[in-house]
Structure formats: C-alpha cells, structure tokens
Symmetry: C2
Subunit: 482 residues, 2 copies
C-alpha cells in the first residue's frame, strides 16, 4: 500500500481537490442542524438524580454528569472539585482504507455534531458508541460498522484504545481502528475517499477535520517511515530534520527505555486521588436553571441543548454538554538535536486518566483560566508559544474538540520551531522531572500502546505528519456554506 | 555488559557455586523466624472495622482485607464474591547489577518472609513497599534502596510497573527495576553476587527463588537476544527453536500488531465489574475466630499470623495472610512453528487487574478448586499438561508466590513441549478469541510496558530464559537448613 503516494498525490485517484468544497457545501446545506439551549431540567429523556443531583439518561445509558473531588498533592493546583462526564463504555472510532491504483485512500464522513461551531466536519468512517452498536438509542444502524466488528483475517492496521480529555471525562477511552477494505465498498451519501495528502491539507483549515479523525490518523503506524523513504530528504532544514525524526534508526536525546522509565517514575511519584462525588453541593460550583458553572466564571459550564438534525441517525434529541470558556492553546515546541527533530513532551496528570499521567503537548491550557489560578499554575513555555515570531510557527490551525460532548470547544493548535535565533530560549535539563525531548519515531512507537499520548498530543502528531509533505498551493479555502 | 558470559559462567567471578549452600544454610540457621497462627481478632495493630468487617491496620497503612463483588458476563464463572487485599501503593522490586571482569552479576538477598514454606528464599536486592521507604512501620532503613531512588544519570536498565495476582489483590502493582551500580558496592550480610547462570540453575530448585526475583528477572530486556548471539545455535531442536524465538527478526505466527489488536479486542469485549464491598456478610464466605473461608472449603482462607523474625527490619509483627487451598498448576505449552518456538498465551480476565485482561500462561489454575466449580469452568489444556510424557516436560519446579501476603502458596511451574508425537493435541485456530501462539521476542517486547503479562506468565518467562543455557550438572541440591 503506497502511503507515500497517498500523501504526495495532489489529488485523490477517486476524488479531485477541485470539487471538495462543492461536495462539502452541498452536504452542509442538506444536513440542517439546529441546536437550541434548554434548561437543564427540560432535557427530554434526562433526569436529575434527586439524591446526588447527577444528570443521567432515563435508560441509564449514554453518560452521566457527576462531581469529581480531585487531590494531586504537590501539583500546581493541589485540590479542586469539578463536574465530570462519566462514560465508561468504549466506543469505536474507525477509518476504512482502500488502495486505488496503488494509492491509499481513507473513507471519511462529513458529519454534524451538535457542539461543532461550524456545523459539518470531516470525521472518521465510523464513530460509534457502545450504545450505537447495541442500538439502545433506537437510531438507524451505523454504516460500515460491521467492517470494524469483523475486520477479516488480516486484522486491523490500527487497533488501540486511547484516552480522551482527562479534564472533562472520567476514564473515557475510544478504540481507534484502521481497517483495510477487502472488496468493493459502496460510498454512501455523505462519505468520500480522501488521500492522506488531501486530509493533511484540510487539517490546516479552521475547524474542519474533527478530533476523532485526528486521533485515528495519528495512530497510523506506517505513515512516517514510509513517507520519509519515498519522498527523500527535503531541502528545508526543518522538514529534513522532521524526516530524520521519523526514521526509527535515527538517534534521539533519550533512549526509548529511558523515556519509559521517566513515565514510570512520573506515574509512581504522582498521586492522583479522584473520587466521584455528587454533583449537588459540589464546592465552588452552582447550578442555575440553564447551567452548572464555577463561582469564578472560569473553566467551563455544563449546559443543556436540544438538537434537531437531518443527516444523522436520530432526528432529534436533548443532552447535556460541556461548554469551555475561552480558546485553548495546544502547542508542540520543537528543536533539532544532532540533525533530528525533537518534540518537547510534558508528563501531565489529569484527574480523569486511567493511569495517572499521559504525555501531553509542551503547552496545553486555556490562557483565560489562569486569571483565576495561582501564578505558580501558569504553564511553562506558554510565553515561548505566545511570543513566537511568525517564521517559527510551522503549523497553526484552530481545531475543535469532540462535538458530541463539547459545545464550541476550540483550541489553537501550533507547532513552534525553537531552533536558533532570539526566541530559542526553551530548554530543559535532561533530568527535568516533567519534560522530555522526544523524536517522532518514539511517539509513533508509543502510539501502538494505550494511554501514553493524550488526545491533544495525538492531534498534534497528526498535524506534524501533515508537515512532512512539501507545501503546495492550498485548494480554494472558501467554503460555500458553514 | 556481557549477559551471555553471565549466563554461561559455571560459577560467578565473585561467588563460586560450591559454597552457595554453605552460605545459604548458615544464613538460614541465623535467620530464625517463627510464624504462629493467631485469631483474626488477636492481630496486634490490626482491627476489624465495626461497620464493614474489613481488616485494617490501625495506622491506615499497609493493606486492608475487604470484600469484592465480581461480575464477568459471559465468563466461565459469571459472578462471585471473594475477599480481596487492597494495597494501592506501588512498591519497588529492584535488582542491583554490576560487571565483574566483564561478567554481569546480580546482587541478591537471602530473605525470610512469613508465608515462605521453606523459610529463606533468594530475593531481589530490594523489596520495598511505599511504607518501607517512608519508614511508617518504624523499621530500619532498607539497604540499597537509595540506589533505586536515584539511579544516576544513565537511568535504570529496567523500570516498569507490573501487576500482581489479580485473584487476590485489587489493582496491586510493583515497580520492577534493574539498576547498574556505578562504583564499589558493599555487600551486606545476607546479600551475595550471582551470575544469571547461577540464578537460572537455582530457579529449578524447589521453592528457592522468590516471586519478586522472578518477575524482575523476566523484565531484563537484553538477556534473550544477547544470549542467543553469544552462545550460538544449540544442537537440541527445542533449544535451537527457543534461541530463534529470542531473535527479534525471526518470524512469528502473528505480527505484534495483530497480537496487540487481539489484546485490544479482549479488553474491549470483556466486561469486568468489580466492586469493593464489606467483608462482613460477603455471600458464601464466613468468618470464624481463626479465618475467613468459603462455605465450600475451596479457594483460599484469610488467616492471621504472628511473626517473630531475626534478620528482618522489624523483629515481630502480626498480619492477615491469604492461605490458598491446594497446589496450583502454572504452565506454558510450547510449539515450534517454522523453526521458531512459540508459547501459547491466554488472554485472562482477573477481578483485580488494572485493565480487564492480561496475558497469562496457557494453564493457570488450582485443580482442587474445580471440584466446586461448573464443568464448563475446567481450564482448557489442563489435560495436556497433566498427561504430558516426562520427555516433553522441559521445565518443572514448585515455586511459591509472594510470602509477604500469601501463606504457603505453592504452584507447580511447567514448560511443556507439544511438538510431534501423540501428546501434541493442543492447538488453537488462528482467530481463537482467548489464545495466541507468541514468540519469546514478542513477550520481551511487551514486558517493556505495564500490565501486558501477568505475574505467573512473567515467572515462566524467567524459567524459559533459564532453558537457553545448556544443561550442566546442577550444584549439590542438598540444602543444609530449611
């Protein structure tokens, strides 16, 4: 399967670039969605537990909104309370791939989620909760799901459970899968074949490729090395260092064994005590008719929405959502060490993680929130990102988090090169307890396993992948209907 | 560091084989331990929670004995209740290594634990609970622990958290470490340098190398490949296939990606609902003066012991322990596929695991218990192990589980070759949901990460390692004092 050809192709064998926006615009017109805010007590099918104040669906399925009491002794904020989404079921995020004329294509879906700021987004072939495939919500069957339930004798190309936002979810994970289609595939309305090159170009567009697509793309195991081999070393030093970083035989500041030991140390040293508690009476949080919010006005609110949709499996429903305050910053700082690009990873504890700490981007925060937190909680390296000269910003795009649970959760994703020049102040000693410079091939190796890279880091790995291919004129970026 | 030389050497550079039993026997004489059964109400420092009936230390430290309500829908036994040890702290199991004349040596300790059937056992350099290093039990400092707290700039050779028995512990893990000493090391009383070859020979002796030593040895990352390279292909076909199995470039029935997908599928499909509940009133279990036991008389009892010890950090203490009924069987079936030895691994759910399922030996059970369980619960492949012709049994030794929590928990560890002949009936289809044939290098790769191989499988990996080296006359097996 020629992944490199897939990344390089100016357009797909099956789908030209030119008509993408026509296709997408036409779908956007047809897939009408109306999202209306409703009081938390007026959510059809949802109820407030009289004892705990938790929000739950009357079937007991989907998810609940509860309280969480968090203690991280020695952390920047050692104790707090917050609402949390409890959704223990493991869903499937799957991309179906197929070779046409030797070029890998991904079957993607243009899909609306109620929390999407722009409506339609490019999504994986399948986004299915366990409720989806047991059919508990009474909707239509999810197209292509059977191909992921039974991926055939060769098995999936990618199949790994990865975490989602540990700041909003208690132990939420999804199964990230890539499956190669064996025979003919009928392309249903709303679906389209894309090459990796086409998806990478769309990643740079504002709020277009959804979170679920980004995490699955980041787990594709073969893309980096094969691309590096087929495309040859580029002239641009940054991109040349990125190519070398994808080569598993290239050097790295720390061996993988040493990185694993660093993670073990962080997970042993850090103590996260997170206990689910009633949402009612959660210290610092107040419920009004329309929302649960923090007394400071910061962080996020729990809101209620009523959704009417066309082009979805269910025509109308209500649900609680998380509405963050302010746009976040999610950034990789990079540096070339001995000719090999390294990324500065942060061992980050979040209350909802399965295993204490995951590797996060160098910076991951919502700057607005820091007005309400102690100065000591201000993220390291945020200055390096906010003050970066434009020439150092190798990637920048505003992308959103999952629109099925988050309402308009936008983050500015950046990749900032710190090499040389006056802005290159960011560095850490080799034994810094919280940060390590790592190569791309080390990240790729860890992505074969669960719970090493957090969801924000996985998004940025997909963005980093997109920089492997030489820049070329972007397709018309005007989108007819959003 | 010459691991192979370490495995090959008939005796250590520092310590001849001949005087091992003198050394060990003399220590056994001096390290007097008396273990006396006492009523559960008469455990100094321990109390029964009046509300829950749980057993706990008055300081709130060490561990508690609680109840667990377990549901595994679709499992061989879909629901049960049992007592469980809750010990969430992560301790350290560490082996200090050092090269003498180019030969790797491991500093091991002859250590008594109250549950050891034979008294002294060969243990890692350090076995420290978190209570040990915070000094909560008021004992003497643990020798060499500082070398594991701060392993120096090169970092540890092994550093990975691994699970312990999921049938007895709730989420218990230890940090397995191997650290290379930088300078001179003073050898304290009770400690001694061993080559890997010496340890491997001792592994075949009954109840001598303790569980903690076995798990740390199994995680040594370089042993297999280097041994295979230096020792060259042996004449014996089984050992030749084992050598090839250690070579990461050798073929395997399933790719590592396919194995990881199988584990993901098992962990997604299997639902383990385990809830801690009060020990008092646990269905099917009764507390008498001396024990908590199952109404059938099967499985295990919770007992109380009072320990008087010399050669330990604390001279006397009391504690609850788990006393299993009957000797267990823990076995790998092996088969040579395309010239490469494969081991049949079982994706096994245990109630106390962090992550649903771990890879277990082909057979892991206590045959006596099956009198009390439905016929459908009888383990697959137990017959193949119990009826194996003596020539097929490549390894057999009775070894015990951790003597700090288990009282006389003995298991018969076996490696049974199923190749050719009438006994070679064991096979599984390639898509069997519960079993996979795997190579040694695949097991070694997974051992870099947490929670893939269970404690019994790790013990057997250490035993498998010991078969790499040609058999030679064992040292005198008579042990002067046990």
């Amino acid at each position: 399967m020629r992944v490199a050809a897939s990344a390089r192709a100016r357009e797909g064998v099956r789908t030209p670039n030119d008509d993408f926006h026509d296709w997408f615009g036409a779908l956007a017109e047809r897939s009408y969605t109306r999202v209306e805010r409703v009081p938390l007590d007026g959510l059809d099918g949802w109820e407030t537990d009289p004892r705990t104040g938790n929000l739950r669906h009357h079937t007991g399925r989907f998810f609940t909104v509860e309280g969480l009491d968090v203690r991280i002794p020695g952390g920047p904020v050692p104790a707090w309370s917050q609402p949390i989404i409890n959704q223990p079921e493991i869903g499937v995020l799957g991309i179906l791939v197929k070779e046409f004329d030797g070029v890998l294509h991904c079957l993607m879906q243009a899909k609306v989620e109620p929390g999407n700021a722009g409506g339609l987004q490019i999504s994986p072939t399948v986004q299915a909760t366990r409720s989806n495939y047991t059919g508990v919500h009474g909707g239509r069957p999810v197209p292509y799901l059977d191909l992921f339930r039974d991926p055939g004798p060769r098995g999936p190309l990618v199949d790994v459970r990865q975490s989602e936002q540990g700041s909003a979810f208690h132990h939420k994970r999804n199964r990230n899968m890539v499956v190669e289609a064996d025979g003919e595939v009928e392309v249903h309305e709303g679906f389209r074949w894309f090459t990796l090159g086409q998806l990478h170009r769309l990643l740079a567009e504002r709020d277009l490729v959804n979170m679920d697509a980004r995490t699955v793309l980041s787990c594709l195991p073969f893309a980096h090395a094969e691309l590096a081999r087929e495309l040859g070393p580029p002239a641009d030093p940054f991109r040349a260092a990125l190519f070398r970083s994808c080569d598993p035989t290239a050097g790295s500041r720390h061996s993988l064994g040493s990185v694993l030991s660093w993670i073990t140390e962080a997970r042993t040293r850090t103590e996260v005590r997170a206990h689910r508690v009633p949402l009612a009476g959660l210290p610092g949080w107040h419920r009004t008719r329309d929302r649960v919010s923090h007394e400071s006005g910061a962080f996020f609110d729990v809101i209620g929405v009523r959704v009417e949709a066309r082009g979805r499996e269910v025509a109308g429903w209500s649900q609680p959502m998380i509405e963050p305050h302010g746009t976040g910053v999610v950034a990789f700082l990079t540096r070339t060490l001995d000719g090999v690009l390294h990324v500065l990873m942060h061992a980050r504890a979040e209350a909802g993680y399965m295993d204490v700490v995951e590797l996060a981007p160098t910076v991951q925060c919502t700057p607005d929130s820091y007005a309400y937190l102690p100065e000591s909680a201000r993220p390291r390296f945020l200055d390096e990102v906010e003050r970066a000269e434009p020439g150092r910003i190798r990637f920048q795009s505003v992308l959103s988090e999952e629109g099925g649970r988050f309402h308009h959760a936008l983050n500015r994703y950046l990749i900032v090169d710190t090499d040389g020049g006056p802005g290159a102040r960011a560095d850490v000693p080799p034994d810094d307890p919280d940060y390590r410079w790592m190569t791309v091939h080390q990240l790729v190796e860890l992505l074969r396993h669960s719970h090493y890279l957090n969801i924000q880091a996985r998004s940025l790995v997909a963005c980093l992948q997109s920089l492997l291919v030489p820049e070329e004129p972007a397709p018309t970026t005007e989108r007819k209907v959003r």
